[in-house]
């Protein structure tokens, strides 16, 4: 688990350390929202988080939008619909 990376949030001046559990939970929720079975959703979320770890290791600081974009690139391989919802979650309105 990479805890050395800082995530810069959308709110100006606000940042926090990378928390893998938060990312896991958000991908899991996206999978559930498109009716993925619970076990599948857990497995997909873990795989995506594991795939992101090498990319995050190189970055001392990234934005939350970067995390979302990169996570959805990995998620689309396992579940395109969940990836679409995950990527566009904040742009549905």
């Amino acid at each position: 688990m990479n805890e050395g990376t800082t995530i810069v949030k959308r709110l100006p001046g606000y940042s926090e350390p990378y928390n893998e559990q938060k990312l896991l939970a958000s991908i899991y929720a996206s999978c559930l929202s498109v009716r993925t079975p619970i076990g599948s959703a857990e497995m997909i979320a873990q795989k995506v988080c594991r795939a992101l770890t090498p990319w995050l290791a190189k970055k001392p600081e990234i934005t939350s939008a970067d995390v979302r974009r990169k996570a959805s690139e990995h998620l689309v391989v396992y579940h395109p619909e969940a990836a679409y919802i995950y990527k566009n979650h904040r742009m549905m309105l």
């Binding site: 559930l32 929202s33 619909e81 979650h89 742009m91 549905m92 309105l93």
Partner: protein
């Protein structure tokens, strides 16, 4: 008292058309979709139905109250030019819809200012029960009132001074049609259609939708405004 002749039918059609145009405004249905993706887990079909019905009731109630209010305003003694005023406002609203209803992003982001959208996001993501879904229905109608109030005013001006039959039928037609998209989206999700598919449909058709609805509103507004002078039984 319950006569329903050609003039009445024509009026009800005009009011129903205003309701149909109101139904094409997407903030309530987009908010419902967002709410369902935020709160739904696997096998929560019944929760989706409950939240949808609650939100639809909120939308229907608020639309009904606003329509009654505008109808009362249009029947005041000084509101002699209500058709002309409401028609003109519908035209301007249609122009805004045609040019600015959707944002120029890859998804179907709406015209609402970003700060307001962020606030709405927070509200929607905290919804988990029926009363808050009902409140969301009220909130979305009030948020989009800037665009929808000309349509409500036009329908209200058509309802003013009419008999019970026309008022009841027109009222039900407008409110029913305005609430329909929320019900259709919610029941679709409850029946198994993926929210991603609905969201993609919204996103893919947004330019066509924007142009078509804007144009329809402009034509409707011009027609209603011309009624002031032509007076085709209205």
């Amino acid at each position: 008292m319950f006569a329903f002749n050609d003039t009445n039918t024509y009026l009800v059609y005009l009011i129903a058309l205003a309701g149909l145009l109101h139904a094409c405004l997407q903030l309530p249905s987009a908010s419902l979709l967002h709410m369902l993706t935020s709160t739904m887990g696997r096998n929560d079909y019944y929760k989706a139905v409950r939240l949808t019905v609650a939100m639809a009731l909120g939308v229907a109630l608020t639309t009904g109250v606003l329509l009654m209010l505008f109808s009362l305003l249009a029947s005041l003694p000084y509101a002699l030019y209500s058709h002309l005023l409401s028609g003109s406002l519908v035209v301007f609203s249609g122009l805004f819809v045609m040019l600015r209803y959707f944002r120029n992003d890859r998804a179907a982001g709406l015209w609402v200012p970003r700060t307001r959208i962020r606030w709405l996001h927070k509200k929607i993501e905290s919804i988990g029960n029926v009363p808050s879904a009902f409140g969301l229905g009220i909130l979305t109608i009030l948020t989009e009132l800037v665009i929808s109030f000309p349509l409500l005013l036009a329908a209200g001006s058509l309802l003013a001074y009419q008999g019970t039959t026309v008022v009841a039928t027109g009222f039900l037609a407008y409110v029913g049609l305005a609430t329909l998209p929320v019900l259709v989206f919610g029941i679709s999700v409850a029946c198994g259609i993926s929210p991603a598919r609905l969201q993609r449909w919204r996103s893919d058709g947004k330019h066509f939708w924007q142009f078509f609805i804007g144009l329809a509103m402009i034509c409707y507004g011009l027609y209603i405004a011309s009624e002031q002078f032509i007076g085709n039984g209205v």
